[in-house]
């Protein structure tokens, strides 16, 4: 295994990660341009848009925050809704503990700041396959994966924000946000449990629409999480012999 030796350097791991991450550029580019456009069209200035995108680094929640602010929701509700969208990252964080739990604090902080859906995918594929890879090499691989994702997310948000103000009104840009959200969650509807959660969320959010301050959505989301969990347990019991 001559290649085996060369494979285990930081740069080799970085470039292996880069190769894995490159296709995601196709998703990051249009999505971040769209965020730049939507944020500036909604009335954020360039600095606010860029500070938000570099601080939060989580597209779905950024869109959610913009939407809730356009709807004039109170700050608490803007935050509750947007942070709820990011709660899945707590799970990703847990998924990375076996691999980075013993890493230095700055390394764990860096991995946390850059934690996106693809980080979890890396944990599930690469690290599961090579659990004994030393932490610096795991980190190098992850940085390779994230290179075409996070910095490009910043760059193309900037481009979107710069062109956004030149898009005329009445172009139907209002529907860009709901459309993006649907495109985001549709691929997640992998199992009956996910479909049950989504359906519960839709039905209850519409029924609870009269409840002020976006609280209806919070109730709907909690019930939907319970519905997803229950269906998952029920399905696994049925599958068991």
């Amino acid at each position: 295994m001559q290649e085996g030796v060369r494979k285990y350097t930081k740069s080799a791991q970085y470039f292996e990660g880069l190769r894995y991450g490159l296709p995601f550029l196709l998703m990051v580019m249009p999505f971040s341009i769209l965020f730049g456009v939507v944020a500036t069209e909604a009335g954020l200035d360039l600095v606010q848009t860029m500070v938000m995108t570099t601080l939060v680094v989580a597209g779905a929640s950024q869109f959610a925050a913009i939407q809730q602010m356009v709807d004039n929701a109170p700050v608490v509700m803007v935050l509750a809704t947007s942070l709820a969208v990011n709660m899945r990252m707590a799970m990703y964080s847990a998924a990375l503990v076996p691999h980075f739990g013993k890493a230095k604090l700055w390394q764990r902080a860096l991995v946390a700041y850059l934690l996106v859906d693809q980080s979890a995918a890396v944990a599930g594929e690469k690290y599961e396959a090579e659990p004994d890879l030393p932490i610096p090499l795991k980190l190098a691989y992850l940085m390779g994966v994230l290179t075409p994702i996070v910095p490009m997310w910043f760059l193309f948000t900037l481009i979107g924000a710069l062109v956004g103000s030149s898009i005329p009104d009445g172009f139907g840009i209002d529907f860009a946000v709901p459309l993006t959200f649907i495109a985001l969650f549709a691929p997640m509807l992998k199992t009956l449990a996910h479909v049950a959660a989504a359906a519960t969320s839709v039905i209850l959010a519409l029924l609870f629409a009269f409840i002020p301050y976006g609280l209806g959505l919070i109730f709907a989301a909690l019930a939907a999480m319970a519905a997803g969990s229950l269906v998952e347990v029920w399905m696994s019991k049925r599958a068991a012999p």
Binding site: M69, L115, F185
Partner: protein, 110 residues
């Protein structure tokens, strides 16, 4: 358009940034190797599909752009985006097919 004062927008940006980091840092930094009850992990798995569809549903059914009246173009667009997204499992395919449908419907109806 957002009509909130600048200070409120900055407050949202700052708190969303800090809150999101704390969520990401939760296990890696603070909770460490301690185990979470399985039912919590199970529920966390469903947060995106529990939040996003509910957030979208009223925007699709009662869009502000039409004064809250259901609108054929937006309903058809939502349907196409959902189906294409479910079949292809691809974000960009969903967005592009949705955008194409939306402008086609606007041209057709409007």
């Amino acid at each position: 358009m957002i009509t909130l004062p600048d200070s409120t927008i900055w407050l949202v940006i700052a708190l969303l940034g800090v809150g999101t980091f704390l969520i990401r840092f939760s296990f890696l930094g603070l909770i460490g190797d301690r185990e979470l009850p399985p039912w919590v992990l199970r529920a966390l798995r469903y947060t995106p599909v529990a939040v996003l569809p509910g957030l979208v549903a009223p925007l699709v059914l009662w869009p502000a752009a039409t004064g809250g009246e259901p609108d054929l173009a937006r309903l058809v667009t939502a349907g196409v985006t959902l189906v294409v997204g479910m079949i292809t499992r691809n974000l960009v395919a969903g967005i592009l097919s949705g955008a194409a449908t939306f402008y086609f419907m606007l041209w057709l109806v409007g």
